[in-house]
């Protein structure tokens, strides 16, 4: 029966997985998001052993694996450690139309960076080392998008 494989119609089946999820935010990030949502504040937590400050807050210090109970309010300002101007279109995924900017913001008062959008600025003007501050969204519902973006400090 040689050759049948070349003759057979090539069928491509359009399939889907379409299922909703309800993710449990948990004790650590719930506190973080409630503070963000209700007070418009960005908090971090600190390792009791090595003193490292994490934002978003950690369940356990990733270096020491110690419980983290010591919370600190951050000023909401930081420095752009790295960034990218996104030019491709992925409408199902992206929060806005390209071009827009993602950055890792080294947060003042913390030892880690926060990944977020950089806005309120011409994408071509974004630079590494730029000072930025968080701009809160007007309507907040306890998600990372409660921070609208980080904008340059004038």
């Amino acid at each position: 029966m040689a050759g049948w494989k070349d003759e057979v119609e090539e069928i491509i089946y359009p399939g889907k997985i379409c299922v909703p999820y309800s993710w449990t935010v948990g004790s650590t990030l719930s506190k973080w998001y409630v503070q963000l949502r209700d007070d418009g504040e960005i908090w971090a937590n600190r390792c009791p052993s090595c003193g490292k400050v994490y934002v978003p807050p950690k369940i356990k210090c990733i270096e020491c694996y110690k419980d983290m109970n010591d919370w600190i309010k951050l000023p909401g300002t930081g420095t752009v450690e790295t960034y990218t101007v996104v030019h491709y279109n992925e409408p199902g995924l992206h929060p806005k139309k390209p071009p827009f900017v993602y950055g890792v913001i080294k947060m003042d008062g913390a030892d880690t960076g926060l990944v977020h959008l950089i806005g309120g600025v011409d994408p071509d003007k974004v630079k590494v080392g730029m000072r930025v501050q968080a701009k809160m969204a007007k309507e907040r519902d306890g998600h990372i998008t409660d921070i609208k973006h980080f904008k340059p400090i004038a």
């Binding site: 299922v19 948990g26 356990k60 990733i62």
Partner: protein, 384 residues
């Protein structure tokens, strides 16, 4: 030749239908912390980590990287293994091979699931071939119901036989503070519970749970240093043959029989009822607690109802099955089979609390899942 390996610590979460206080990563951290405590070690003593779950229950790709904060795997060797329902035993086997290979001394196996985050049945439906079998594949219950109705016809087993198993396991769970479903039920309660798919009723079937389990394996020298009484791994065997659900024959469980026989051969088991002191079996449904007794070679074909009714598998029997309450009391899917291994290890280590069987020397643990994927692990108090 590889190294001999023992289990030195076990940790599990308090399981529930939903753990609202814990994100997936926090759930993992709870189990990991408890396992470290149980073995009286710190994360620094752990040389490598293996994790497993099923992707589509929580919609997380690369769980091994995502779970870093809870696992404590930052700057440690870690990877993920997954095989559906047997993920727990797959993780255990993988940790065992890590240590047995001589490449790592102390290895932690972690299984977890946050089944409250999605429609479990929908996620299970996606394990069938998406084009040829997904639509009519109605989850695990159909095949289980069918295999038992055929067993009933062939050998005269009854709905009461499986209800006895359901009552046994559910009452055993009363002794397990971690179990998800803890209720005292009678055989009549089971028989009177709503029919899911004839002959399987609500109280025959496993729930879906949020939970995690961590088990620490160590090479012989290390295990002896760490704890007074490690649970030694005597055999770990997996069999899986089938590609499509329609390939499965339901008169018997070929992969379970093959895996069981091979494990018995490796561990030198010739009279399982006498030689095992406890069995922690992955029985997704109480009907399996009847029919599969054949497949584990506890009895001749068709003799399972008599075996169950003899009381040999109850808490005061010669080989209690599922002192923990088993899968029908608690089912965080990616952790379920690892709990079987962990519970068996605790029985050997004498750490099982209210569900402890005295003087346990040898245990049988199994995993079941996927398209008839069967895992068997035998543990012992003495070195293999």
């Amino acid at each position: 030749m590889g190294k001999r390996v023992g289990i030195v610590g076990v940790g599990q979460t308090h399981h529930a239908s939903q753990r609202l206080d814990c994100s997936g990563v926090e759930l993992i951290a709870e189990a990991v912390t408890r396992a470290l405590d149980d073995a009286e070690v710190t994360l620094d003593d752990i040389d490598a980590i293996v994790i497993g779950n099923m992707d589509h229950f929580e919609n997380i790709n690369y769980v091994d990287t995502w779970a870093t904060d809870g696992l404590g795997s930052c700057m440690k060797p870690v990877f993920k293994v997954t095989t559906g329902g047997t993920t727990g035993t797959t993780v255990a086997a993988c940790a065992y091979y890590h240590a047995a290979s001589g490449l790592f001394d102390t290895v932690m196996a972690v299984g977890w699931e946050k089944n409250s985050e999605s429609d479990t049945q929908a996620a299970i439906a996606t394990c069938a071939n998406p084009v040829l079998e997904r639509d009519p594949f109605a989850g695990a219950i159909g095949p289980l119901a069918t295999e038992y109705s055929m067993y009933m016809e062939a050998y005269g087993a009854t709905e009461e036989d499986s209800a006895i198993v359901a009552a046994r396991d559910r009452n055993n769970a009363m002794n397990n503070i971690y179990a998800h479903n803890r209720m005292h039920v009678t055989v009549e309660d089971v028989l009177n519970s709503p029919m899911l798919s004839y002959p399987v009723k609500f109280l025959d079937m496993c729930p879906r749970s949020d939970g995690a389990c961590a088990v620490i394996f160590a090479s012989e020298e290390k295990a002896k240093k760490l704890v007074p009484k490690p649970a030694w791994v005597h055999a770990s065997v997996v069999r899986h043959d089938y590609t499509h659900f329609g390939d499965l024959a339901w008169q018997w469980m070929p992969t379970l029989e093959m895996a069981t026989l091979e494990a018995y051969k490796i561990a030198g088991i010739t009279n399982p009822l006498k030689e095992f002191d406890v069995a922690e079996l992955y029985l997704p449904c109480s009907t399996c607690g009847v029919k599969w007794m054949d497949s584990f070679y506890f009895c001749e074909r068709g003799q399972a109802p008599k075996l169950i009714r003899s009381g040999a598998t109850h808490m005061d029997g010669i080989m209690p099955i599922n002192p923990s309450g088993g899968v029908i009391a608690c089912n965080p899917i990616g952790a379920t089979a690892l709990l079987r291994v962990g519970e068996a290890a605790w029985q050997i280590m004498g750490k099982s609390g209210d569900r402890q069987i005295p003087n346990v020397k040898r245990t049988l643990s199994t995993g079941f899942g996927g398209c008839s994927w069967s895992d068997v692990m035998i543990l012992g108090a003495d070195l293999p």
